[in-house]
Amino acid sequence: MNEHSEYGLQAGTADIGSAGPIAFGPDGILFLADNAAAKVFAVDVADPGPAAGPEPFDLDNVDVRVASFLGCEPGDIVIRDLAVHPVSHNVYLSVQRGRGDGAQPVLVRIDALDGSVTDVPLDDVPVATAAIYDAPAADDERLDITLPLGEEGEEVTYGTRTFRLLRQPIRTATVTDLAYVDGTLLIAGLSNEEFSSKLRRIPFPFRDDAAGSSLEIFNVSHGKWETAAPIRAFVPYDGGASILATYTCTPVVHFSLADLQPGAKAVGRTVAELGAVNQPLDMISFRQDGQEYLLVANSAHGLVKIDCRDIDVQAPLTEPTEPVGVPRETKDLQGITRLANLGEGYVLALQAAGGRQHLRALKTASL
């Protein structure tokens, strides 16, 4: 416990309401986004594994295995995100079990040595918490008030009658991706009301006023139209000095974080479009022969690989003609929904195939 006092973690419970994206920070601290409570938790997962070697890791039917451990059918779980412990290479999955009243977020650990499945306890663990978004505006007093079936909410007495009322906010924000770079947690999200593109920066260790600051990101499409859209996935780039982001409407946009003040408007450079009727799902960078590359998982295409040198020299897209932006290679690897670095030698992919989900190590040398 003391080893993490420098990060401000204290024994407590990461009381997560809904499983969201996860990402590792410094010294094996895992960040978990809670989309129900608009919070992010930093948890010491106390990973028990030894330091991993350069081996790959594959596991077929990971959805069936996790469901079996959680005591439900594979259709009853959703794997929301994937992270690999940087030292042990144990695999962490952010899993939502069930869908309605019985829905329960679970952090699952898969042992890199034997593929065994356990859940990571989130009570009585070293934890720190930060609010992700601006609290609802002071003038937003809207609450959805219902009569709960259980013991939620508060007891209210009118005259001689006493009953329970549950008041919950109507405005919410969903975290779509998060990443840690050098003392800052970066968080992208999607509002259930306004259509905007915000990247939040929260200093870590979290401070009392840990709401952090947000940047509003615009991008220009084809030199003619300036627009904003929620960021779907992003990777820190250039040592964290810039961000490469993909959007619900599929462009890849580069913008610099340097010199941006809180509340500033950033205008990004659109460097690629990934095609029509397609959603980017996840994005990582990896190294091959000393060069940095970007990998993008897509809903409609295979895995797209982009050479970062091409991004650096790509002029902003100005003409709405094909090809659109930087050269890219589309790998014939379909159904990949999540990506994580597995040491230097591999990328771990969550891949849907044959109606099931599998963990596959992709050798970076052959990507």
């Binding site: 309605g100 405005r171 919410t172 859209a229 409407c249």
Partner: protein
């Protein structure tokens, strides 16, 4: 011979094993999981849980609760001891669709967002299959709504936000060039919620619901409060302030982006209410209006049906300087109560 039954231990559902040999290894797995993957059940992790002694019996207490309708296979020392299925309660359908927004009869071709209000908390994971846009004959318009892993609910899971695919609305993007607008001016559409949408208990809706919209031309202007008409109430009375817009505004944002301050600058307490078709808004004060200067205060993030806000248009044509974004501060419209 081990006998299995559903039971309870310390307030928790469990599987009771009677006649279990001391030290036996008990494992429980959802029965259909292995078959789904075509692999031997023994190759799957057993369900997390613990074995607790209760009198002469042993009880398997799961780490995560049993799921209604799911069958569980129990092995003792590697041999199947039996399969137990959790009953699925037969619940009547009670949840309904209360309202679908926009409330306007006509939407612009570049409509961005709809909302569906349900009468009860709902389950996640059903929106993609059970909410869609259809043409006037009821034929689904594939690809019109944004397919997203992230369903956008309020915290109570009663209001669902549905986005049309912005890549098809924004000019210049690949989606727009390849597939065009999701809507066509002059061709009515219906937003359909079918009865298969599940409530929080997993029960379908009482009935499906839909709302029909005429489709008009694009709306590409910034929301401009200077275009709004105010019906100013008399000082000393409690008639509402009425604000009429030049176009319908977004249901969700309208409900929180407007308020009124009085002569001292403090906020006027009262009951705000959107008007028919979200084309107007009123504030009925709790106390009589004070005489003197008032301000209608507008958060510039307020949007119309096409996602244009008071600050910026949805997709700005850089060749139109009149569409340059305005500063992010609150906008005020002054009026005098006399």
């Amino acid at each position: 011979m081990t006998r299995l039954s559903w039971s309870r231990l310390d307030g928790t559902d469990c599987i009771r094993l009677a006649g279990l040999a001391p030290g036996a290894d008990v494992q429980v797995r959802p029965a259909a999981a292995a078959a789904a993957a075509g692999i031997p059940a023994a190759g799957l992790p057993p369900m997390g849980g613990r074995l607790a002694a209760d009198g002469a019996d042993a009880c398997f207490v799961p780490r995560f609760g049993f799921v209604d309708g799911t069958a569980y296979a129990v092995t003792v020392d590697g041999r199947t001891a039996g399969v137990l299925r959790r009953p699925r309660p037969d619940r009547p359908a009670t949840a309904q669709v209360l309202a679908i927004y926009p409330a306007a009869d006509e939407v612009p071709r570049n409509l961005l967002r709809c909302y569906v209000w349900f009468s009860a908390p709902m389950s996640e994971g059903h929106a993609a299959a059970h909410v869609w846009l259809a043409d006037d004959a009821g034929t689904p318009l594939p690809g019109a709504l944004l397919p997203t892993e992230h369903e956008l609910w309020d915290a109570g899971r009663r209001r669902l936000t549905v986005l049309l695919d912005p890549a098809r609305i924004k000019r210049g993007l690949a989606g727009h060039r390849a597939a065009g607008y999701p809507l066509q001016a002059g061709q009515p559409v219906r937003l359909v919620v079918d009865a298969g949408f599940r409530d929080a208990a997993g029960t379908p809706l009482q009935a499906g619901a839909e709302r029909r919209y005429a489709v008009g031309p694009d709306e590409r202007r910034r929301v401009d409060p200077a275009e709004w008409a105010l019906a100013v109430p008399a000082a000393g009375g409690t008639e509402p302030l009425r604000v009429t817009f030049d176009r319908p505004l977004d249901h969700g944002l309208l409900a929180r982006c407007l308020h009124v301050t009085g002569p001292g600058g403090s906020r006027v307490d009262g009951t705000p209410q959107p008007g028919p078709a979200d084309r107007s808004w009123q504030l009925e004060p709790r106390a009589p209006w004070a005489a003197g200067p008032h301000r209608l205060v507008i958060d510039p993030i307020v949007e119309d049906l096409a996602g244009n806000s008071a600050r910026r248009v949805f997709d700005r044509d850089l060749g139109r300087p009149e569409d340059d974004p305005r500063a992010s501060g609150f906008i005020t419209v002054s009026f005098q109560a006399r």
